[in-house]
């Protein structure tokens, strides 16, 4: 217990929450009228036999209560906050649509995830995935070689069905840069082929990039905005380097 407590850093918790406390978050945390209209708009609430503790306003209140303590929170409180913000919200924003004030609970949850990050509380897989972005530029740790090879392979497969169909790589000045979820080349390469089929038939002027091609941003889900900015920048850099008009992202 004593060892664990040493990992807490109340100062960092407070500093992080001060940094992250924007005008909107402060307004939303303070103005909630506790009307309860968000309850049955949440799939967690509905899927857990209408457990009141699953309602959006309760989760937001939990975040506010933790912040109010200015970092003086015990391990149990932090763990409970961690469970809530990672395990009981998908940040889908449906509750915001039903809130008379339009309170963005997802932003509050995202901020609280960032607070958990500041205390070293992040799901293990998410940490690994974020490291992958920095090391390989994509969440699945695919090498550039693997990526290009997958595209070539898909191109060959497709040409049997659609002669003349190609996957342009690093074509400058194309209209469209098509980016994918790194799970596609890793596990479902046929998904890429489906998109290529559409582009080919539509006669689209498009390209794929040899780097900055993963459009997922799992750092964002950790409320780790610095890493999230880095990940977004990878795609932006690719788009600027290839001088494309727009970036399309996979479904």
């Amino acid at each position: 217990m004593a060892e664990k407590a040493a990992e807490f850093n109340p100062e960092v918790f407070k500093k992080t929450s001060d940094e992250k406390m924007s005008a909107r978050l402060k307004m939303w945390l303070e103005m909630c009228a506790h009307c309860g209209l968000c309850a049955d708009t949440c799939h967690y609430y509905l899927a857990n036999e209408q457990d009141p503790k699953m309602m959006p306003a309760y989760k937001a209140k939990k975040v506010l209560d933790a912040i109010k303590k200015k970092g003086k929170i015990d391990e149990a409180t932090l763990n409970s906050l961690y469970e809530t913000v990672y395990g009981e919200c998908t940040m889908c924003r449906r509750c915001t649509m039903f809130c008379p004030f339009g309170i963005d609970v997802a932003s509050i949850i995202s901020m609280a995830r960032g607070l958990c990050v500041s205390q070293g509380k992040v799901p293990e897989n998410l940490v690994k995935v974020i490291e992958n972005y920095f090391a390989h530029g994509n969440q699945m740790a695919l090498t550039q070689e693997d990526w290009i090879e997958t595209l070539k392979w898909m191109e060959e497969e497709l040409q049997e069905e659609l002669p003349g169909a190609t996957i342009p790589i690093d074509k400058k000045g194309a209209n469209l840069l098509y980016t994918v979820n790194a799970r596609e080349p890793k596990f479902y390469p046929m998904d890429i082929a489906h998109a290529v089929r559409v582009f080919h038939i539509a006669g689209e002027d498009w390209t794929m990039s040899s780097k900055g091609w993963d459009d997922t941003n799992l750092a964002m889900f950790a409320g780790d905005l610095k890493s999230a900015a880095y990940v977004s920048q990878l795609v932006r850099d690719a788009a600027e380097e290839l001088e494309v008009k727009r970036v399309a992202i996979t479904e």
Partner: protein, 216 residues
């Protein structure tokens, strides 16, 4: 100066001052902080989505009105009576005229009396709902009860004063204290939604709107 004169004069000025000043400060703080920390608001500013978002919730044309018609009706009645009754009450109009020689349209005394009862009734509905419904109770804090009481107190005492139940002078003094108290607490509590409702609706409307998604 007796207690009545104190509440009718300096304390009334003070409470209007705190109320209006407090709201201006809140708005100014929001603008100042948001310029630094909420840049997307200004980057994606859209008058269209701002107004659409406000209008769809200031009249009940939205998903929640469909999903929760009873709470919506009670909520709208509550807010209409809360705002209209004190502003257009004949007795209040007389006070304005005595002080400033200004006057405006006022409600008939009978209508104002009913509206007061409606405000109190709606408030009681929310009180019971807060105590009974599990999903409301779980997020309820002591402040929620206190603020509901602070909001209803001017109406209850106003009703008693009009009908001259109990000692008129005492009831009237209480009515003034509660009325001024309510004004004073608005900027510092969740009652600040008096103004921040518009700010929040605007920013969320634009945030959803920039993705072509309505927030209603």
């Amino acid at each position: 100066m007796n207690l009545y004169e104190l509440l009718r004069g300096p304390l009334l000025w003070l409470s209007f001052g705190v109320f209006l000043g407090g709201m201006v400060v809140r708005l100014a703080l929001f603008v100042a902080t948001s310029r630094k920390k909420d840049k997307p608001i200004y980057r994606f500013w859209s008058w269209k989505w701002l107004w659409l978002s406000i209008v769809h919730w200031i009249v009940p044309v939205n998903v929640t009105a469909k999903k929760n018609p009873i709470v919506t009706i009670v909520g709208f009645l509550f807010h209409i009576c809360l705002l209209v009754t004190p502003l257009f009450l004949l007795a209040h109009g007389v006070l304005w005229y005595e002080s400033w020689e200004i006057s405006w349209w006022s409600l008939s005394e009978k209508v104002a009396d009913y509206m007061t009862l409606v405000a109190i009734g709606c408030g009681l509905f929310f009180l019971v709902r807060r105590m009974v419904a599990p999903h409301v109770r779980v997020i309820t804090t002591a402040a929620d009860y206190v603020l509901l009481a602070v909001t209803l107190a001017p109406f209850v005492t106003g009703y008693l004063a009009y009908h001259q139940y109990f000692d008129y002078y005492t009831v009237m003094i209480l009515h003034m204290i509660f009325g001024e108290l309510m004004l004073v607490v608005i900027p510092f509590t969740k009652l600040s939604h008096f103004l921040m409702f518009f700010v929040s609706r605007a920013v969320t409307g634009m945030e959803f709107g920039r993705r072509d998604a309505p927030s209603w």
